[in-house]
Symmetry: C2
Subunit: 256 residues, 2 copies
Amino acid sequence: MRFLWIFAHPERQSLNGSLLTEGLNALREQGDEYRVSDLYAMGWKAVADADDFATAGLERRLFLGAEQERAFQQGVLSDDIREEHRKIEWADVLVFQFPLWWFGPPAILKGWFDRVLVQGYGFGIKGPDGRTRRYGDGGLAGKRALIITSVGARESGFGPRGIHGPVEEVLFPLLHGTFWYTGMAPLPPFVVYGADRCTEPEYTRTASDLRERLRTLPATAPVPYRPESGGSYDEALVLRPELAPSLRGLEVHRTT
Amino acid sequence: MRFLWIFAHPERQSLNGSLLTEGLNALREQGDEYRVSDLYAMGWKAVADADDFATAGLERRLFLGAEQERAFQQGVLSDDIREEHRKIEWADVLVFQFPLWWFGPPAILKGWFDRVLVQGYGFGIKGPDGRTRRYGDGGLAGKRALIITSVGARESGFGPRGIHGPVEEVLFPLLHGTFWYTGMAPLPPFVVYGADRCTEPEYTRTASDLRERLRTLPATAPVPYRPESGGSYDEALVLRPELAPSLRGLEVHRTT
């Protein structure tokens, strides 16, 4: 398989940097190909703005989303964005590795989503039936996406009733709102807890767990979110009452 | 009251720009003071890195969080960050206005959190009992925080069983994981739906609703999240079984 590994940590001499090396070694040994987008090392531009596309002297009011789509269709998005598109096209699996800051991705990675997954490319594409392909279908359909993230807190705080919220629900904007929204299959996230206090034996176990996750990745079941097009939602995009009856909240969007 | 209004939209000639003007006019008319951090106009640096502090030739491995805290304690954080700290100290209310991109804040705003709310300032402060002040207490205790955000989707999709997830749960990383975590009272978010198709009458109603929200803000009840220190959580930071029994997920962290 072909992996695009997007790495968003400012320091390679870190727990995350070591796990990156470990992960790439594992991929090489098991015969997979990979490319790496090391966002800090690349000096990746985080902020989406009019510099992302040839504007031909745009003096009018900026509609960012519409301009992104136009520039994508005309092939005039900036070089750094088009290079990421080429890497994505090449890859079967996208890995996003980052320390969890404020319960989300660092700004440099958020900016990768804001700038790369533009309308007309990642989403906003109509299917043969005239409906927009979304949630389980879209511009990135057929690919898998894996989050590898580190947190300082203990695992219990991210459990079903933990104070930080269940980790899969905290990551819902990425897993469901970004990966699944653009058609990718979201794999269960690989989370390193207590990252600030990782001992040598813990690191060894984590590295081994990561290798196992990468080895078994082709057979790993994605998070079973419901597709938008499968009849589960009504015209207002509300889950039909006979499904997960009397439940509400993020978990109703999983089939199990 | 004193408002710090953090605005994260690339275009002032936009629905968000108009609502910003409307909101500031309302504050002025009702006798409140305000300051504005217009992040795009300021050219705000989004990416947290070693340039955020005087490193005195830092050649060692970068521990970003620890260096941020050290620089804060020594008063050597970069000028732009210290200026935001001064504005925050001055303010009673923080307003965060942004278009919802990928179900979260634009990178430029995410970077405001990553760079400004450093350890020792926003969080990681110990109380007299030796425990870390967090969730309902912290460096920003006593302040209120309001999200104003715009989405293209209809309101139904962000309801209790809507496909995008309940808006308050999608915004949990900000409301609970950032505002409440640092001690601020998170106000119910002000969400503008169908923002891409806003008609003149809809705009007039939205502007009027916003004025009403700002007028009644001092009396508005915050989202009733549970404080960490109130005895609701056990030592593993798991909600005690007698509270919201048999429930799980993000909603258990609300008292009602």
